[in-house]
């Protein structure tokens, strides 16, 4: 792309070219300059003036990251971070702040922020942060996707098969057919039969793989 001697950090197309930067800052000049800079570097960008505007418009299935001004009016950056956590939305967040207090930084990082940048910051630093965030987002989404497909497959099991599978997940140390049969009050042969069906339906080769899938325990899924 560049044939000059001045390399500039650009969007990492290898990670994701479909990810979006969601920029929230109440200062119009900051929004304009940042969106222009990031556009120039090939990023897709959506800007919002307030946290509420963002929450109204945001679709969690959209991959990307949040560049969030700390000192927003009404709902500030930290508060938005809390709201997102409550809604189980795990979009990576990069804080930018004119305050830069130690306390705010610590709290933001505790909340899972990628970084906390004090204004004014260098563009390279921000771009690096965004790329990191994108990578994190992509990995998280992939893991979530795997888990979701496992859950879909798990859902296909019969009631008895689910019971056997849950017992094995809950008691990984006692997975012999005898033990399971005694516990569930069925014959070891029936247990063997169920086990074979479970491995077949879950498209896995061993009980160990089933435990790795970390299907939530039954109590959580009964609701």
């Amino acid at each position: 792309m560049s044939n000059s001697g001045f390399p500039i950090p650009m969007v990492d197309h290898l990670v994701s070219s479909t990810s979006t930067v969601f920029l929230i800052d109440d200062d119009k000049a900051v929004r304009t300059s940042l969106s222009r800079a990031l556009h120039k570097r090939g990023f897709q960008l959506q800007t919002f003036e307030t946290a509420k505007q963002f929450l109204d418009a945001y679709d969690p299935s959209q991959p990307g990251c949040l560049v969030l001004d700390y000192g927003l009016p009404q709902m500030d950056g930290l508060k938005l971070q809390e709201v997102l956590a409550e809604r189980d939305i795990n979009v990576p967040i990069i804080f930018i702040s004119g305050h830069g207090g130690v306390r705010e930084t610590v709290q933001a990082m505790k909340g899972g922020a990628i970084d906390f940048l004090e204004k004014p910051f260098r563009q390279d630093v921000l771009v690096d942060c965004i790329n990191t965030a994108f990578e994190v987002d992509v990995q998280r989404r992939a893991a979530e996707c795997d888990r979701n497909s496992a859950l879909t497959r798990f859902a296909k099991l019969t009631q008895r098969e689910k019971e056997v599978a849950n017992f094995m997940i809950a008691n990984p140390s006692s997975t012999s057919s005898k033990e399971i049969g005694r516990e569930l009050d069925i014959s070891p042969r029936t247990v063997d039969h169920h086990r074979a069906r479970i491995l077949e339906k879950m498209e896995i080769g061993s009980v160990a793989e089933l435990i790795d899938l970390s299907i939530p325990p039954p109590s959580d899924r009964m609701a």
Binding site: S2, D27, S33, R36, G98, H99, G100, R103, K119, P120
Partner: protein, 646 residues
């Protein structure tokens, strides 16, 4: 008008003393007057009784002699038909008692024998009238004390008939002994009285009547010798209102209209005092045989009277006594006037003594008061020796000196805190303004640096990059970031200067900040309620925390004043909460409006506020590892400060 303590003391003393002396004088006077008057009554009673006894004794011989003569003449021991025997017998009777002035006998036929004391020719004179048929012989015989005849004479013209005389008719009619009314003897012009008794012969035929004349002028003589006070008197008053005897005998007899002599009536008595005392005297109404005591005023002078009936005699006589009260009480009356003067003089003397004494007693007190005021004004040191004074004042002085010293210490402490606060506030204000400015400046700097970055990348992406432009843009970018660095340095300005954390007493600090805000509290008519009990020592920068407290309290006062709340109270409470102390400042104002962004620089609801107070306070509290927040529910500001752990 204010009086000095000494003056009031002396005046009250004198007043009380005068009243006390006066009461003693007057009660003494009243009781002694009463005693004297009682005594006077006794004296009068005694005089009256004395007079009564005297009268009874005076009249007794007449009664006895009459009885004796009656018995003698009735028994025939002396024959009533023998004038010579009777004359001798009567002569003997006259000699026995001086008050008898004459003894006589008259019979039914007109015969008459009369022996009397005489002033002329001889001391005794006998008059004998003998009747034989129609012939009458009237003979006068004068004798000496030894019954010797001194002279004889006859008076054929005498027409005296005893049978017509009142004493004869009365005795004859009643058939028993009688007394005549008192009368004035014609011959001697002396008052007298006659007692007469009928003499019966055989077959109860009346032989005649014997009579004895009694000279009662002697009673007056006796009365004149009777002492009733210094100017009182006693006299005899008959039931029909005639004055029978009086110390001044000249006053009692008058010449009647028909030329005869008689007694003066009480209503016509020449002594006006006696008239006033007993005029309108009515024996039946007034005495009834009982003594009558009374008193009256004449010419403004008090008099006492006593009316005493004379018992056991056949005469309706009463002893009347009167005396002016002053005879008895004049001396104590004089005393009373003198005593009041003495009381006044004593009071004045004690007044002078009292004032002098009070002045002497109060001198050390006054000196103490002067010194105390000088000490409190700081003109005299508390170390100056105390002037000689009382033990109580010395103790009070010690307390006072302690108090002053303590107050000075407190004032000094408060002044120190105030001075430090002023400094810290200024520093914090500058710091916070710097922080605020840094934030505000960071926005445009961000824009500038971003745009420069973009411009730089655009320039670099050119086919033939303009090296000069890139260099200029790079320099600009560097400068923008330099600006950013300066801002970051500014930002940490406040945080760097936090001072050292030291243990301090939160309650004491709250009390001190309250005192610092006293004027503002009073102006806003706001009261404070401090609810702090047992607390561990707080750990932090005392002056910085004071600034937080002052800021919160000032906000509370402003809120109350701006809303003009009916209840105007700020409540400051503090409780230990684990390793922290939580302080709450509540006010009766309306609470924080929703559109105010608390803790943000330059955001304020006050017309002349900078909007830095709360953000500074939060910075201070957080720098000391505490938190500052607004409790939406209870509408109060809270902050925490670490406390000393054992």
């Amino acid at each position: 008008m204010r009086f000095s303590l000494g003056f009031v003391l002396a005046l009250s003393l004198v007043g009380l003393q005068f009243i006390a002396i006066l009461i003693v004088v007057l009660t003494t006077y009243v009781s002694s007057e009463r005693a004297m008057l009682t005594h006077a009554r006794d004296l009068m009673d005694k005089a009256g009784t004395n007079a009564v006894e005297h009268i009874k004794r005076f009249l007794e011989p007449a009664t006895e002699n009459t009885e004796q003569a009656r018995r003698v003449l009735t028994s025939g021991l002396i024959s009533v038909t023998q004038p010579e025997e009777m004359e001798e017998y009567f002569f003997q009777l006259l000699l026995t008692e001086p008050q008898l002035s004459g003894v006589y006998f008259g019979d039914e036929d007109g015969n008459f024998v009369f022996v009397m004391k005489s002033n002329e020719v001889g001391p005794f004179r006998t008059k004998i009238i003998e009747v034989e048929g129609r012939a009458r012989t009237i003979e006068y015989i004068w004798r000496d004390e030894d019954f010797n005849v001194l002279a004889r004479s006859y008076d054929p013209n005498d027409v005296f008939d005893a049978r017509t005389r009142p004493w004869y008719t009365a005795a004859r009619q009643l058939g028993s002994r009688i007394w005549t009314n008192p009368y004035i003897f014609f011959s001697s012009q002396q008052p007298g009285i006659t007692v007469a008794a009928p003499i019966y012969g055989e077959g109860d035929t009346l032989n005649g009547v014997v009579g004895i004349d009694l000279d009662i002028a002697d009673i007056s003589l006796f009365l004149s010798g009777l002492v009733v006070g210094s100017s009182g008197a006693a006299f005899i008053l008959s039931d029909d209102g005639q004055v029978i005897a009086h110390p001044d005998p000249a006053r009692i007899n008058i010449r009647n209209d028909n030329g005869t002599l008689g007694f003066v009536g009480i209503d016509d008595f020449s002594d006006p005092v006696v008239r006033a005392a007993f005029a309108g005297f009515d024996a039946n109404a007034e005495t009834g045989a009982q003594p009558v005591r009374s008193s009256f005023d004449y010419n403004g002078e008090g008099f006492m009277t006593l009316l005493l009936p004379v018992p056991d005699i056949d005469l309706p006589w009463n002893v009347a006594v009167f005396a002016p009260e002053n005879d008895f009480v004049q001396s104590i009356k004089d005393n009373r006037a003198r005593n009041i003067w003495i009381a006044a003089i004593i009071s004045v003397l004690t007044a002078i003594a009292g004032v002098t004494l009070a002045a002497i007693i109060l001198k050390p007190v006054r000196a103490f008061a002067v010194r105390t005021s000088l000490v409190s004004q700081g003109e005299v040191s508390t170390d100056e020796p105390l002037p000689r004074t009382y033990k109580e004042l010395s103790a009070a002085n010690a307390t006072l000196i302690d108090e002053i010293a303590q107050r000075r210490r407190l004032d000094t402490k408060l002044q120190d805190l105030n001075r430090e606060l002023t400094h810290v506030t200024r520093v914090n204000m500058m710091g916070q303004m710097a922080t605020g400015l840094a934030h505000e400046l960071s926005q445009p700097l961000t824009t500038i640096s971003q745009n420069l970055d973009t411009a730089l990348s655009v320039a670099k992406m050119d086919a033939t990059p303009n090296e000069e432009l890139i260099s200029i843009l790079s320099e600009l970018d560097e400068q923008a970031h330099q600006g950013g660095d300066i801002i970051r340095a500014l930002r940490s300005f406040v945080r760097k200067d936090k001072g050292r954390a030291e243990p301090f007493d939160m309650l004491e600090l709250v009390e001190q900040t309250k005192r610092l805000l006293r004027q503002e509290l009073e102006r806003g008519q706001v009261t404070t309620d401090i609810q702090i009990n047992e607390l561990p020592m707080a750990l932090g920068n005392r002056v910085q925390i004071a600034q937080v407290l002052i800021n919160l309290m000032r906000n509370a006062i402003d809120a109350i004043v701006m809303a003009d709340s009916p209840v105007r109270k700020i409540t400051i409470s503090a409780v230990p909460l684990g390793e922290m102390i939580e302080v709450r400042v509540a006010d009766t104002g309306p609470g924080v409006a929703n559109n105010i962004t608390l803790f943000k620089e330059f955001s304020t609801s006050k017309p002349d506020g900078l909007g830095l107070g709360l953000s500074i306070s939060r910075t201070i509290v957080e720098a000391g590892h505490g938190q500052l927040w607004y409790d939406d529910v209870q509408k109060q500001f809270c902050f925490t400060v670490p406390c000393e752990t054992q």
